[in-house]
Symmetry: C2
Subunit: 345 residues, 2 copies
DNA sequence: CTGAAAGCGCTTACAG
DNA sequence: CTGAAAGCGCTTACAG
């Protein structure tokens, strides 16, 4: 096929003429909505091939009232979870020949959320996926038309009818329990701000301590600036009742370890530290960092598939599958940054 | 404004009727292409407000022949550079009320590149941004219509008329020279596969060694699987002529360090190791990793702005700005993982 | 400055 | 199974 000049993109009429049929027939051939005679199918196929014809999704969208596009609303574009999930959505969408539009939400400017959502909807997407790892995502929900296929990713269980969640609270609980099981009397927690739902690693940490009747120290909240986590590590290192720390993510964990070291506290000998997310670098760390991996990529893929079911059903005029919440499991990765606590002092 | 039901979205005709004007007048008001009388402007504004009218970008695109959309073609969606650049493009696009479509290319399936590009073009984007960090990106260029505004990100200098590049070769040269300047007789190189251009960190490494007349050992190529880099570190650790290693990225660097340690080779005392990209975790490492930071976010933003200039000029019917290549500087971050080499043995 | 008309490239009843 | 006609919601010459 010759390189397109952009001026002479063939349109359906060109195909029809070359194949000796009408434009609607070509359309029917393309969409498979109505049977087209075998003989014409062949002629049309040939014409399309010859012309290098590609239907205009724009024109199609104007007729169909929607595009083969999924719009993703997400805050914190720099977060690991966001970019991994995006990647998953894109991959699954591509397989269905859907395009993905990403519209970033800005948590620090909640007033802009409505405008952003309108912008995202302006292309008449077939459906929307909203990441509910944060408040902006939750607010976005308010502005989506109720008849638009929707899947929520993350957030609390049952926050939406159709949802892909990770068992994050359970994971946080698991990690904390793991430390408690090793003999630590309590577990400190350093984390970036907790999400707005009750299904967070922080909630799970709290659950475990409460369940065991351990002392619950206020979580230390840090920003993405790792220096804050280092400082948190230093402060924790000054206290001798600190023997175990659950960091809300791997970056924070290694920063805390650094702060601890500055106070001559060794990991894991003096203090056990575990992270969360199981980033690539976690296993390379010294000591190799114990962490809990979440499958954000998988979540993104599943989110698109769940959305696509709805889109398909809507287009076929059948009932959509029943609402449901799918849980994507993560898994702990036990390594060398935590160890049993022996209260010999 | 009431929550949209999706069924009754007002259209331009509704606005026209309510304002007592014709649809074209509303259109002119919206686009500012032709003067509209003050009195009608007010009535139209009021009608739009009252109805909560939002123009259909799809219909507009069908008339205008293009959407306010930029399509990004990128391979390696999981790469740090890709997701950071995406983020930059999205941010700049959003400021101009442009939407971003991401179409991933698959390096392992070069045959699919043409289809992917066609898919991306099917929305009639106003322009395209292609990341040329890899072969798939380069190939994508062949399928873009020549009259479509285009900006290439990354790649070799002058690979395209309009381009945002980082001085990667120079950076690789700088890091290698830095090690050489500290007395190391040569510098070993462990890296993920080199990009297809001649503006890579690996090329810069080679430049420096050649310039200084140092021995040039074949680069050790590893995949994203960090175990391979650990293994590379082990092998390097077995040789006593290894005193300095330039890793192609920070993840590889820390994996190499791990391998080195397994062979009882300390960093930086026995071997100096430097990374590339200056990821968040680099400064947290023990020893803090020397690295070279690239501003991918900035590159993404600039790429969109450069594209937008062209789009704007085209729409205004004026000459586009002259082609140019912009270089986005990075900066070295010197830390603790390298040190002077004293040949006392 | 403004309206009636035609067109962007498809799809979908409507009649065969 | 298939074609002629109308319509999706805008914009742009074309005449005032």
């Amino acid at each position: 096929m010759a390189r397109s000049t952009g001026h002479s993109r063939p349109v359906i009429k060109d195909v029809a003429k070359l194949a000796g049929v009408s434009a609607p027939t070509v359309s029917r051939y393309l969409n498979g909505t109505v049977k087209v005679s075998e003989e014409k199918r062949a002629r049309i196929a040939k014409a399309i091939e010859e012309l290098g014809y590609e239907p205009s999704v724009v024109a199609r969208a104007l007729s169909n009232r929607e595009m083969d596009t999924v719009v993703v609303f997400a805050a914190n574009p720099e977060a690991f979870s966001t970019s991994e999930t995006n990647h998953g959505v894109e991959r699954a969408a591509r397989a269905c020949r859907f395009l993905m539009n990403i519209v970033s939400l800005d948590e620090s400017d909640m007033d802009s959320v409505e405008a952003r959502v309108r912008m995202g909807l302006s292309v008449r997407p077939a459906g929307a996926i909203v990441y509910q790892y944060d408040r902006a995502g939750i607010k976005a929900l308010d502005y989506l038309p109720k008849d638009l296929p929707l899947v929520v990713v993350g957030g609390g269980f049952g926050d939406a009818d159709r949802q892909i969640v990770n068992a994050e609270r359970e994971a946080g609980r698991w990690m904390t329990m793991h430390l408690l099981d090793m003999g630590h009397e309590t577990v400190f927690h350093v984390t970036r701000p907790k999400g707005p739902t009750d299904n967070t690693r922080t909630d799970g940490w709290h659950d475990a301590l409460k369940e065991r009747g351990a002392v619950i120290h206020e979580p230390i909240v840090v920003s993405r600036d790792l220096e804050e986590a280092v400082e948190a590590g230093r402060r924790l290192g000054e206290r001798d009742d600190v023997t175990a720390v659950f960091a809300g993510d791997d970056e924070t964990a290694i920063a805390v370890i650094r702060g601890l070291k500055e106070q001559e506290r060794q990991v894991p000998d003096d203090v056990s530290v575990v992270g969360f997310d199981d980033r690539n670098f976690a296993s390379m760390w010294s000591p190799a960092l114990t962490s809990y991996g979440q499958n954000y990529l998988e979540m993104g893929q599943r989110a698109f598939r769940m959305l696509y079911e709805q889109v398909k059903a809507k287009r076929d005029g059948v009932e959509p599958p029943d609402p449901r919440v799918e849980v994507v499991e993560g898994q702990p990765a036990l390594r060398a940054s935590e160890t049993v606590y022996v209260p010999w002092r």
